[in-house]
Point group: none
Chain length 186, copies 4
DNA sequence: CATGAATGAGGTTTCATTCAT
DNA sequence: TATGAATGAAACCTCATTCAT
């Protein structure tokens, strides 16, 4: 049969859309395949189980986000600027992709990911922690555990996206970073 | 343990225990009733639907947490001390009640609560936002939107609990508050 | 709800009927519940899995057969008479209960029974082997391994039932026993 | 092993192997084609349906067994020797080819073969029944219905193979024939 | 003839909910 | 009010078969 469109991609897209709307626990695989305009069985040709599909969705989104963020570290000079760039890109990506953002949050907090998938998803943050260590060495920011800084950055960004989505005209993006930076800077 | 226990309470307790272990989407009501040593049908005498039960669990935990935190605002003098007291009580409660903390997070992020239940659950934060407004008026902290401050306090506390649960000997509790306070103080 | 009729029995009976007609591998549980005039889910209240049901069917039939045969050993005097009585009862039961006989054969040859169920099903033959040992000691029959004699008795009886079912007017019942006895007698 | 092997043969061999291991009801055609290192669709170029394949497997094995047994009738002089030769060859073939033996039993007892295939599979026994008739005429053995004798020979041989496979050091092969012969001889 | 992606009916099992007792 | 057997829709997944390449 003609591979007119990539079915795997169609399934992933459909999964993100319906997961965002109904929550992934509440979404039958039949709805995903229907949304993807694909037979019910086809889904399982690409993803052996629903859990595998969820892992794949997570990884797909994380990879897209990582690509979005990766550039930020090299485009700026100071650690503060790198961090702010990262902050801004994350938030803007989240606002541009509310479904993906939403699904990522869902999966992160309510699903037991495969260990290797989880590890892959964490890579992007390795870089930010490395930069934080450098900055600590230079005496720019306080000597806090970098894993705490990474987690803080992550949760605060996510929270900011959520608030901005509900209240678009507020100035949370600038304020949030100001608070974050003042919190850690010497 | 009380020998004769209200069945409703028994069901709520059982629900929290099994939700914490398996996730509430993954938990059949039959397991809850079994854990509560109550007939399957009995559960539905107290909670018309599973969704109602989830709402009730949420409210139950939120109320307990609120009671824990409420006192903090009056025991201290300055806003900083009130805030720190609140921070500490939240974290210590979370560490003492990992199941309840866990279930609260689950429900908050992956369940569509009834509007009125959600509203009731937010009450405790009204107080903290009121205090923040006072403090802003006194010029102690920056003039940031109080709803942002409330949300920040909430997510950062929760994140800190999670990290401390995984790494108990770390000093996250003190550090976290330091960052938070430095972030907002003038 | 009124327990007007024993549903468990109804399900077992229905299973035997449809297994006989279509083979148990080819029989959906939905057809069993439909035949038993019971909801699809009800079947699983009584038998956790289809495999459990098959084990139960096997045991049910074996027990009935055992009851039928058990008496035979005491009603007669000589070993030959006991054996012939057993032979006759088995065959007549098989002809009277073609469905049960058929299903028993099916399960015995094409299903991996639970170890304990298998063991329970074998009990009746312990007795015949014990009697064979006695008879050997008395010098009535040849000193052949009793487990071989038991298996021979079993397969030859079953084969005879099958042939008689296809060709009812033949004299296989008498002939078969004659061959069997002459084969083992001194 | 032949490097280039007929795909049809490869499929038949693979089917026997996996049927023996998992039972043919439990074996998906996809596993057969995979085992045969052939595409899923290819199997259906040779066998229109799974049922057709099962029929073909049956016939293939029966033919091999027939070839093995056919010679026996001419290599010996007396009917007893022919019969014993047949008995021995069957048993030894069964022990040498446990998978084929197993699959043959499975299909014979749990599958509705096509009428013509069944007829073809029975041919070898026509010969033994013819010889039995001769022997009866000569007064060597009792005048029993030859179809009963054929069926007896078949089931008893099969049972003996099964027992020997489980208990290889026992003397069932010799004993079994002794019983069989004494049963029918005058 | 060979391939393997695609199909969708159908299989077993789960589970929230009902209701007669 | 408490019970738990009964229900049946729906979930996930399998697999024989088709067919465009």
């Amino acid at each position: 049969m003609a591979k007119i469109e990539d079915k795997e991609t169609a399934i992933l897209k459909a999964a993100i859309a319906v997961f965002a709307e109904r929550g992934f626990w509440n979404t039958p695989t039949s709805l995903i395949s229907k949304t993807a305009r694909v037979a019910e069985g086809t889904l399982f040709n690409y993803f052996a189980t629903k859990d595998d599909l969820i892992n794949a969705v997570y990884l797909e989104i994380k990879r897209e986000l990582a690509k979005e963020l990766m550039g930020s570290f090299h485009a700026r000079e100071t650690f503060r600027d790198k961090m702010r760039d990262n902050w801004n890109r994350y938030i803007e990506w989240g606002l541009r992709n509310p479904e993906k953002f939403n699904v990522l949050q869902q999966i992160s907090t309510s699903f037991k990911l495969d260990a290797d998938v989880k590890a892959q998803g964490m890579e992007p943050f390795a870089e930010i922690e490395r930069l934080a260590r450098e900055s600590i060495a230079k005496g720019e920011i306080h000597d806090y555990p970098v894993e705490y800084l990474g987690a803080l950055m992550d949760t605060q960004t996510a929270m900011t996206v959520r608030l901005m989505a509900m209240n678009p005209q507020a100035d949370y993006q600038r304020i949030g970073f100001e608070i974050l930076w003042n919190g850690v800077a010497k």
